[in-house]
Symmetry: C2
Subunit: 203 residues, 2 copies
């Protein structure tokens, strides 16, 4: 029914114990969850991929659901740091920051596979409205949208909220289409679409 259990090794240098078990578990869990989904990978697989075992995993995380939530917090934090990176790469250049962000969306992962947005995928996989991971996703998306609005305002575009939402939705649509329509599908020329929309909001 589910993904093949073959080749679930994660980071090769994971087995050396340079990182404490909790960090190794989080890294392994993030990678495996993103690749195979929450239901597609069990806690024992995660523990083995982290070079430890199930008991140690449960010493650091109360349950699988809370491990999922912690992974989502980690992913949200990585997204935040991407914005910090962009900010320091194009200081005082909001338009350049938006363009840098847009260009980064189309980049392939090291293994050549698009997986879309891990937070969106999580929100779809989680059907329980009370799951601890859900509010992590919603909060991250809200912050992401606010960041985009402030950038569009700073860049002096007309109707910055409308533009920000347009860019946000196009990017969300493109990333989800990598999964639903294939990587060579509709999201291929995302940049041209975004530039066309931005041109309509040029002051």
């Amino acid at each position: 029914m589910d993904a093949r259990a073959d080749e679930r090794t994660v980071h090769p240098a994971m087995d050396d114990r340079s990182l404490p078990p909790r960090a190794r578990i989080l890294i392994a869990a993030q990678e495996l969850f993103v690749r195979h989904g929450f239901h597609g990978v069990g806690v024992e697989t995660i523990a083995e991929a982290a070079g430890t075992n199930k008991m140690t995993l449960y010493r650091h995380f109360e349950s699988k659901d809370l491990l999922i939530a912690e992974c989502l917090r980690g992913i949200a934090g990585e997204n935040d740091s991407v914005w910090s990176l962009i900010d320091s790469a194009c200081p005082n250049d909001p338009r350049g920051q938006i363009m840098t962000w847009l260009r980064s969306i189309g980049e392939h992962t090291p293994d050549g596979n698009h997986v879309g947005c891990a937070l969106v995928n999580a929100a779809i996989q989680i059907t329980d409205p009370d799951h601890p991971g859900r509010k992590v996703v919603e909060e991250s998306k809200r912050a992401h949208r606010n960041k985009l609005v402030s950038l569009c305002q700073a860049a002096g575009y007309s109707d910055p909220e409308l533009l920000a939402d347009q860019l946000f939705l196009i990017v969300e649509g493109a990333r989800v289409s990598y999964r639903s329509a294939g990587p060579d599908g509709i999201g291929a020329n995302l940049l041209a679409m975004a530039e066309n929309i931005m041109a309509a909001h040029e002051p």
Copy 2:
């Protein structure tokens, strides 16, 4: 871990045997899969919701995965018939057809919950690249995109392919954001975003 098992009754008139078991199973499976995800509902639950049992289910469907694929084919067919409906509602009015389609996206389901696009959700839940349901989703999305392109061409917009892809991605992004950011989030004023984009392509 997963959705609550409470209240999985589907269509109330499902128990009367007006429909043959295979049709009842498909209806129940579609509804339950959309609401709780593929992993969140078992075949026995589906059979009971359809007013039958597991053995009859397996007499009509080789496996759960093939049942999933059949459900996706049914959903894709429903999407096609929506386009036929729109076509007959606005004959020879491609622009009106696009607008009608856009308006239909924001409508709520009878229970007031947005579930996004069932095919996209399926593509994200399915991690196996060889799953029989995957090609159903990809084919449906490709046809959907082609339909939009031909409508934009017929409406005389400049750069119809770019416009079609922009509209497609915005809608995909909005529908997925109903799940990731909540129904009152970014996709709320989808219509204004689309009209703004279309205005930029006015001939």
